[in-house]
């Protein structure tokens, strides 16, 4: 357990980065459909999904082998955004809101990248022993 392996060394950041990438796709789809009648803006609950990906905290502990293993099923879903100004044609994409969330998500992606890159740099210098 204590030895160096990639899962221990890299921590939550690879999962976070993947999830940010998926979220960017959902948000890009919202923006592409900003003029589609009846389209409902979607998003994910990032915290809940990351907790599920990393299986920390959200899983139920089983004290008996007969227990049914359970984890938070809420986190698995693509949610609908609550519109602040729904339009007449049923479209709930709030362009400026989606755009800010998209650019924020891109920044978060970049910070996850920086963390991951830092981890790799640390591992590299540990290997070199310089």
């Amino acid at each position: 357990m204590g030895s160096i392996n990639f899962n221990n060394a890299l921590g939550v950041h690879p999962d976070a980065m993947l999830l940010r990438g998926k979220r960017a796709e959902i948000l890009a789809n919202n923006l592409a459909n900003s003029d589609t009648p009846g389209f409902k803006a979607r998003d994910i609950n990032f915290q809940a999904m990351l907790a599920k990906e990393t299986q920390s905290g959200m899983a139920m502990s089983s004290t008996n082998s007969a227990h049914i293993s359970g984890s938070s099923s809420q986190s698995n879903e693509l949610l609908f955004r609550n519109p602040s100004q729904p339009s007449i044609d049923g479209n709930t994409v709030d362009t400026q809101l989606e755009q800010t969330i998209f650019s924020r998500n891109a920044m978060d992606y970049n910070s996850s990248f920086e963390f991951l890159n830092g981890k790799f740099k640390g591992l590299k210098s540990a290997i070199r022993g310089e």
């Binding site: 990438g21 960017a24 789809n29 592409a32 589609t36 998209f102 992606y109 970049n110 990248f113 890159n117």
Partner: protein, 148 residues
């Protein structure tokens, strides 16, 4: 790779908006195209958009977003272009070379003000998709630098 999908999504958005811009240009250009009969008169054309569903994405069982019958759309598609059924404008112009026996000429049902606002809306949406594409490209480019 989900970042790669963004290129397709934003590309489909740009394509849809450029078709919308194209119909707007056609409508404005033909706003004064007169005709002597109702059937031959130009009518305003409007594209209608729908969410594009990527079948390739839906069969991918590993993707947890699709496990509950939920699906992320894969962009936007132009389902078709319809002609407006708003009434045409008959004008009494007996001197017009295209005037019919009663002296009427029919003008298209193009609302130029509506077309101008449509044009602004579609060019903004186009720009927005370009920004999305730019951001996705930067994200991918950075990812390629991982470990350097």
């Amino acid at each position: 790779m989900s970042l790669g999908n963004i290129f397709d999504i934003a590309g489909s958005g740009m394509n849809a908006q450029s078709i919308r811009l194209n119909t707007t240009a056609s409508n404005i250009a033909n706003a004064e195209s007169a005709s002597s009969s109702i059937n031959e008169t130009y009518r305003a054309r409007k594209p209608f958009f729908a969410v594009m569903h990527n079948e390739f994405l839906n069969v991918n069982k590993d993707n947890e977003f699709h496990s509950r019958g939920d699906e992320i759309g894969a962009g936007v598609e132009v389902k078709g272009i319809v002609e407006s059924d708003a009434p045409l404008q008959p004008r009494f112009q007996p001197d017009h070379p295209l005037a019919n026996e009663e002296g009427y000429v029919y003008y298209p049902n193009v609302n130029v003000v509506e077309e101008m606002t449509d044009m602004m809306s579609s060019s903004r949406s186009y720009q927005m998709n370009v920004e999305v594409l730019k951001t996705a490209k930067q994200m991918l480019q950075r990812t390629l630098m991982l470990g350097e």
